[in-house]
C-alpha cells in the first residue's frame, strides 16, 4: 500500500478510534461554579480571567436555548458532560515527548507527516489541552506567536488581552457564553506587521473521551500588511453518548492584512457542533472563511465578517454534506459597517437520504455605509427523494447605493444521469460520487491541494457507503 493511500484510508475512517487515557486533570461531570473555578485554578489563571469565566457562566445559565435551533438538544445532557479533561498542562514542543497514546492518535491522523510536508506550524489538541505545539524557529525569530489560549493570555497578555472576548463577547449567544466559562485550548496567533507566511499554520482538534465537551478558543491577530492561512481539522470517535463542541474563533485583521481560515469538520455523527466564528476586517483588509462540514449530528455555524474599514473584503466558501440523521445548519454573516466594502458568499450543500442541509445567512449594510457590494450564491443538491434542503437568507440594507444579490438553486441527481454513467461502467454509488464531486468541484479547488484531494476521496467514499 502506498504512503498516500494509507493516509487517505486513515482520513476516511473519520477518525473513529480512541485510546483509554489516564487523565491527570478532570473537572468531573456537569457544570457548576466549582467546575469553572477548578479549570481556572488548574491553568493558574489571574483573577481577571476567572472573573471573565464566572460572568460567562452566569450568562450561559440565564440564556434560554434559542428556540430556532432545529434539533432537539436533549441527548446532550449538559449535566452529564465532562467539561475539562487533560493529561498535561503544557504542550510538548518535540514530537517524541508527546505521550504514547496521544502520539498514536495524531500519527494515525497524519499530523507529523503533514507538518514535515507543508506546514509552518502545528498545534494538536487532545480533549481539553494542546498536547503538541511547534512553530518553525525562523518564524519565532520574526515575531510570530503561535501558542495555545492559556499561554497566550499568561505569557503575551499585552498582545492578546485587548482583543480577547471583544470580537465574540461571552454574551453573544448561549454557546459563546458556555465557551467563555469553560474554554480551554485553541490557538492564539499574532502575525507582526508586514509578515507574510507562505506556509499555513494548522491546528488539529481531537475529542478522545466519551460524553465530553471541547471548548477551544482561537484568537488570531494579523497586523498591518501581514498575511496568514490557518487550517483546522476536527475528528472524534463514535461513542454511544453524545459529545459537544462549542468553540469560539475571533479574528482581528488590521489594515491591508489578509487571513484565510480553513476548516475541515469531520466530527463523528453524535457530536453537536455549535460554533461561533467572527472576524473584524479593518481598512482594505481581507478575511476568507473556507469551511467544509461533513461530520457531526448537528452543526450550527455561520462564520461572520464585520467589514469595519473602507474597502475591506469578506469571503465565505462553504461546503456542507448532510447524511441521514445529520443536520448541517451553516451559512455566513457579512456585516458592512464601512463604505466601499464588498463580500462574496459561495455555499454548496448536499443532502443524502433524509439528511438536512440548511443555508442560514445575513447580509447587513449599515445606514452610514455607502457603495457596499455583496453577492451570495447557494446551490443545493438533493440526492434522494427524502433529502431536505432549506435556505434562510436575511438581507438588511440600510445604506444608499449598495448592491446586494442573492441567488439560490436546488437540483437533484436525475435517474437519467445515473443511467448514463452506469452505461459507462460506473456502479451506482461511483456514479453518485462523480456527480457529487462535479457539483462541488468549483469550491473544492479553494482548499489547499492536500485537503482538496482528501476531501474528494472522502466524499466519494461516503457516497459509496450509501
Amino acid at each position: 500500500m502506498s504512503e498516500n493511500s494509507s493516509m487517505e484510508e486513515e482520513f476516511a475512517t473519520s477518525g473513529n478510534f480512541s485510546y483509554a487515557m489516564d487523565y491527570a486533570h478532570d473537572a468531573g461531570r456537569g457544570l457548576r461554579e466549582e467546575t469553572v473555578r477548578y479549570i481556572s485554578k488548574v491553568k493558574g489563571e489571574p483573577r481577571w480571567l476567572l472573573n471573565f469565566r464566572l460572568r460567562a457562566l452566569k450568562i450561559f445559565e440565564a440564556a434560554p436555548i434559542p428556540p430556532w435551533i432545529p434539533v432537539d438538544l436533549t441527548p446532550l445532557q449538559f449535566d452529564q458532560i465532562r467539561y475539562y479533561l487533560a493529561k498535561d498542562q503544557e504542550p510538548k514542543r518535540r514530537w517524541e515527548d508527546v505521550p504514547d497514546e496521544i502520539k498514536a492518535t495524531f500519527d494515525r491522523l497524519g499530523v507529523p507527516e503533514n507538518e514535515r510536508k507543508f506546514l509552518a506550524g502545528v498545534e494538536a489538541q487532545f480533549d481539553s489541552e494542546m498536547a503538541y505545539a511547534n512553530l518553525r524557529q525562523s518564524l519565532t525569530e520574526r515575531g510570530v506567536i503561535f501558542v495555545n489560549s492559556t499561554e497566550g493570555l499568561l505569557q503575551h497578555e499585552s498582545v492578546f488581552r485587548p482583543h480577547f472576548g471583544k470580537v465574540v463577547p461571552a454574551a453573544d449567544n448561549k454557546f459563546s457564553a458556555l465557551n467563555g466559562a469553560v474554554f480551554s485550548g485553541g490557538s492564539f496567533i499574532y502575525i507582526p506587521k508586514g509578515t507574510k507566511l507562505d506556509q499555513p499554520l494548522q491546528a488539529y482538534f481531537r475529542i478522545n473521551a466519551e460524553q465530553f465537551g471541547q471548548f477551544e478558543r482561537t484568537l488570531i491577530i494579523v497586523d498591518e500588511d501581514a498575511e496568514v492561512t490557518y487550517l483546522e481539522g476536527c475528528t472524534a470517535p463514535r461513542f454511544e453518548s453524545s459529545a459537544l463542541h462549542a468553540a469560539v474563533v475571533e479574528l482581528v485583521v488590521m489594515p491591508r492584512a489578509k487571513v484565510q481560515y480553513i476548516t475541515v469538520q469531520n466530527w463523528s455523527s453524535n457530536v453537536y457542533n455549535l460554533v461561533t466564528k467572527r472576524g473584524i476586517a479593518r481598512e482594505s483588509a481581507e478575511i476568507r472563511w473556507i469551511d467544509c462540514n461533513i461530520g457531526s449530528r448537528l452543526t450550527m455555524k455561520y462564520p461572520c465578517v464585520v467589514l469595519a474599514g473602507t474597502h475591506a473584503r469578506g469571503e465565505m466558501v462553504s461546503i456542507s454534506v448532510a447524511h441521514h440523521g445529520q443536520y448541517q445548519d451553516t451559512g455566513a454573516k457579512m456585516i458592512h459597517r464601512a463604505s466601499h466594502t464588498s463580500s462574496h458568499v459561495m455555499a454548496k450543500s448536499i443532502s443524502i437520504q433524509a439528511g438536512v442541509a440548511a443555508y442560514r445567512g445575513i447580509t447587513r449594510a449599515a445606514k452610514s455605509a455607502k457603495n457596499c457590494k455583496n453577492y451570495t450564491r447557494c446551490d443545493a443538491l438533493m440526492i434522494h427523494p427524502e433529502s431536505v434542503s432549506k435556505t434562510h437568507p436575511t438581507l438588511d440594507v440600510q445604506g444608499a447605493l449598495s448592491q446586494v444579490q442573492h441567488e439560490a438553486t436546488v437540483s437533484r441527481v436525475s435517474d437519467e444521469q445515473i443511467r448514463y454513467l452506469r452505461q459507462r461502467g460506473l456502479g451506482e454509488s461511483q456514479a453518485m460520487g462523480l456527480l457529487v464531486n462535479g457539483f462541488l468541484n468549483e469550491l473544492l479547488r479553494e482548499f489547499p491541494m492536500e485537503y482538496g484531494v482528501e476531501l474528494k476521496r472522502l466524499i466519494e467514499m461516503e457516497m459509496e457507503q450509501r
Binding site: 443511467r419 448514463y420 452506469r422 452505461q423 459507462r424 461502467g425 456502479g427 462523480l434 462535479g438 457539483f439
Partner: protein
C-alpha cells in the same frame, strides 16, 4: 468460433406495450450491422435493452457465448457493450476527463496502477481525431453542448473506452456535412480496431462509405428482412412499406 453479440428470440415490453416479439439477430465480431425501421418500431428500446437499461421479458442476449441478461448495466458496459445515446444527458460539473478516467478506473483490475500519462496521451490523440481542441478535456459532459457536439462526445468516449461493440442510436441525426464526416471517420477507426457495431439509423446515404456487413429491417417487433446495402437503398428510395 469468433466472438459475437447474439440476440435470440427477444421479447420486450415497454410501458405495458409489447415492443419486440421474438427478435433474433447476430452481429459477429468486428462487423458493422445496421438496424432500420419506422419511428416507434422499437429500435431505441432494443439497444437500451441490450445494455441492460430496460428489462427483457424473455429471450437471450449473449456476448462471446456468455449471457448478459440480468447483469447490472455497469457490468454489461465493462464486458464491452457501449451505447452512443441519441440524446445524451448533461452532467454539470463533471469534466470529460473526469468521466473517462473514472470509467477506465472502473474497468481496471484491482491492485493495478492507473497509467495517467497513457490516459492523457490517448485522450489528446482521440480529441484531435474528433476535431476537438484541448479545451474539450475540461468541458463539462454535454453541458451546454450543441446536438452535434454531444454526438462527437459520445464517439470520443467510444474511442477511449475501447469496447467490443458500439451501439449507435441515431448518431447521424441532425449532423451537418463536416460533423457527419468526422463521425464516419470515427466509425471507420473503430472498425479497423476490430470493434463490432450496430448502427440504428434512418438514412442510407452515409452508410455507403461504411459498407456495412448487414442491414436489418425491424418491423412488428421482429427482424422482418435482412440484406446488404441494397436493402438500405430500397428503404430510402421506396419507403418501409415497399421494402417489406
Amino acid at each position: 468460433m469468433r466472438s459475437a453479440l447474439a440476440i435470440r428470440n427477444l421479447y420486450l415490453n415497454v410501458a405495458g406495450k409489447a415492443v419486440l416479439h421474438g427478435l433474433s439477430l447476430a452481429v459477429p465480431a468486428g462487423e458493422i450491422h445496421v438496424l432500420m425501421g419506422r419511428n416507434g418500431s422499437g429500435k431505441s428500446s432494443f439497444v437500451h435493452a441490450l445494455v441492460g437499461q430496460i428489462p427483457v421479458a424473455a429471450g437471450e442476449v449473449s456476448l462471446d457465448g456468455v449471457s448478459l441478461l440480468g447483469l447490472p448495466p455497469e457490468i454489461i458496459a465493462q464486458k464491452g457493450l457501449f451505447l452512443a445515446f441519441q440524446t445524451p444527458v448533461a452532467l454539470p460539473g463533471v469534466t470529460i476527463t473526469q468521466l473517462l478516467r473514472s470509467a477506465l478506473q472502473a474497468r481496471q483490475e484491482k491492485g493495478k496502477l492507473f497509467d495517467h500519462m497513457q490516459f492523457h496521451d490517448d485522450l489528446e490523440a482521440a480529441m484531435e481525431f474528433m476535431g476537438m481542441d484541448a479545451s474539450w478535456a475540461s468541458r463539462h459532459v454535454n453541458d451546454g453542448f450543441s446536438g452535434g457536439e454531444r454526438k462527437r462526445c459520445e464517439m470520443l468516449q467510444a474511442l477511449i473506452l475501447k469496447p467490443k461493440y458500439v451501439l449507435l442510436d441515431e448518431i447521424d441525426s441532425g449532423l451537418d456535412v463536416d460533423a457527419t464526416r468526422i463521425m464516419v471517420n470515427a466509425i471507420r477507426l473503430l472498425h479497423r480496431r476490430g470493434t463490432g457495431m450496430l448502427i440504428v439509423t434512418h438514412h442510407s446515404r452515409w452508410l455507403e462509405v461504411l459498407a456495412p456487413n448487414g442491414v436489418h429491417l425491424l418491423s412488428d417487433g421482429v427482424i422482418h428482412r435482412s440484406g446488404g446495402m441494397e436493402l438500405a437503398r430500397a428503404i430510402e428510395a421506396e419507403g418501409f412499406q415497399a421494402a417489406q
